[in-house]
Subunit: 270 residues, 2 copies
């Protein structure tokens, strides 16, 4: 299993505080020592920092903790491998271009038998079930819409639907970004918080670090953070109901879509 | 205009020495201060470090100079913009997946009127002529072969052909990687060197740095380096003839294909 971290905001925001918690779980307070990745969006483009080494010991993770890169949308992942070797090709988040946008995906869980699902335009580079699932998802979107949908509700519903469908293969918690929104699916375990005015203090669960957000924000700022488990001890996080797809835009939860599949199968899909 | 740097080897090799020279040209000894990128392959996967800031001042470039990442294939670029704003989306090298492989591309020159060329499966995320040309190239390969060609000579010839065709739009020096080979096209300016036993000393043109390669190699090692202009003062670099596509595999020049287009047009393509 792995841990996920996503951030989506209405102003460019530094992810260092939350990433510090995640990186600590990547081999120190948590067992997720099989690589990590952190994607930052700038408009429709993303840059993805990847390292197949443990985040807690990685010089790259240290660099990212020490150098503020502000972004409105970030997706991070620390890996504890269940399927696939520890290689760069198997390191989340994965990235593909669709409709002239970078799509970034990170997964927590295992989707069994997914490799029997037919691929279309997108093919996995590595050997994980996660990347295969990402390719199947993007193909489903590509065949549903000619271009990036102007009706965003339709896109959200399509993502919720393919997410529910693929979750029949096992456990499918994921974060997906398209440069405009963060789509966060809770299958078994995912929490979120929206920080906004009046901002308070927060202390990390995994490290002796406290931030007073009031000092680093303006009253108009809104920052949504999603994580496998809450990252702070003194804030109120919302736990996801199984099967829910949350959609965040401009730092706000703009949609919360229920699961589309009743009586989810736990056996491999034919 | 920009500067290109590529490295292709038969053993994982550190690119720090050559990248130091390139990064220096990115805003100090050269005017290429509009961002830089450095892609490292590991098998069929690549990780691409991108920064829209000047390499000579970038903390990320400093990190990459100070932390050895060994690879058999790397592609780097420092940008002096001619077309497109200074943004992450316009920062080379560009990356796309085709046939379950990461393809990485960096361009030096300007290809005018290229945006009138029809796109297929691949679409640019940013606004450069370079990324548009990359998308057109990949689409040409995709429609020529069902999967990654087992006959590599056919793939090389296809790359040489589309390279020559697109060079009719202007200046098309490029580096292209597929995880197995480095394809380096000289249109107006490109040099290469293959370092092999017996290894000697080399001193950078742009910085007071000397390396004795004999100390960091074994007699079996072979390292090919390609750059817009030679990076060292005391080695013999080979200058490309206009229109040539060099192909490097396992640290050796395995093919040198001449231009396919006679009487190249210098005016925009209809």
């Amino acid at each position: 299993m792995c841990e996920l971290l996503g951030m989506e905001c209405n102003v460019p925001t530094d992810i260092v505080f939350s990433f510090t918690a995640l990186a600590t779980r990547g081999g120190r307070t948590g067992p997720h020592a099989d690589g990590f990745g952190l994607a930052f969006y700038e408009g429709r483009a993303a840059r993805v920092f990847l390292d197949p080494n443990a985040a807690a010991q990685s010089p790259l993770a240290e660099f990212l903790r020490n150098h503020s890169i502000k972004t409105e949308l970030a997706i991070a992942h620390v890996r504890k491998k269940t399927r696939g070797h520890v290689t760069l090709a198997n390191t989340h988040p994965f990235q593909r271009e669709l409709w002239g946008r970078a799509w970034v995906f990170a997964h927590n869980g295992t989707v069994r038998g997914i490799k029997r699902r037919k691929l279309g335009r997108f093919a996995p580079i590595g050997g994980t079930d996660s990347e295969h699932a990402f390719c199947v998802m993007l193909e489903a979107l590509r065949t549903s819409f000619k271009s990036y949908p102007s009706k965003r509700t339709e896109l959200r519903e399509a993502i919720a639907e393919i997410g529910s469908e693929l979750s029949a293969h096992g456990t499918f918690n994921f974060l997906l970004g398209d440069g405009r929104a963060l789509y966060a699916r809770c299958d078994t375990k995912l929490s979120h918080i929206v920080r906004k005015h009046p901002f308070g203090h927060a202390t990390l669960t995994d490290d002796d670090v406290t931030v007073n957000f009031a000092e680093v924000t303006t009253p108009k700022d809104r920052v949504a953070v999603v994580a496998t488990t809450p990252l702070t001890v003194n804030e109120r996080w919302t736990t996801g109901a199984p099967g829910t797809l949350w959609v965040f835009e401009e730092g706000a939860l703009v949609a919360s879509l229920p699961s589309r599949v009743r009586g989810k199968r736990r056996t491999p899909h034919p």
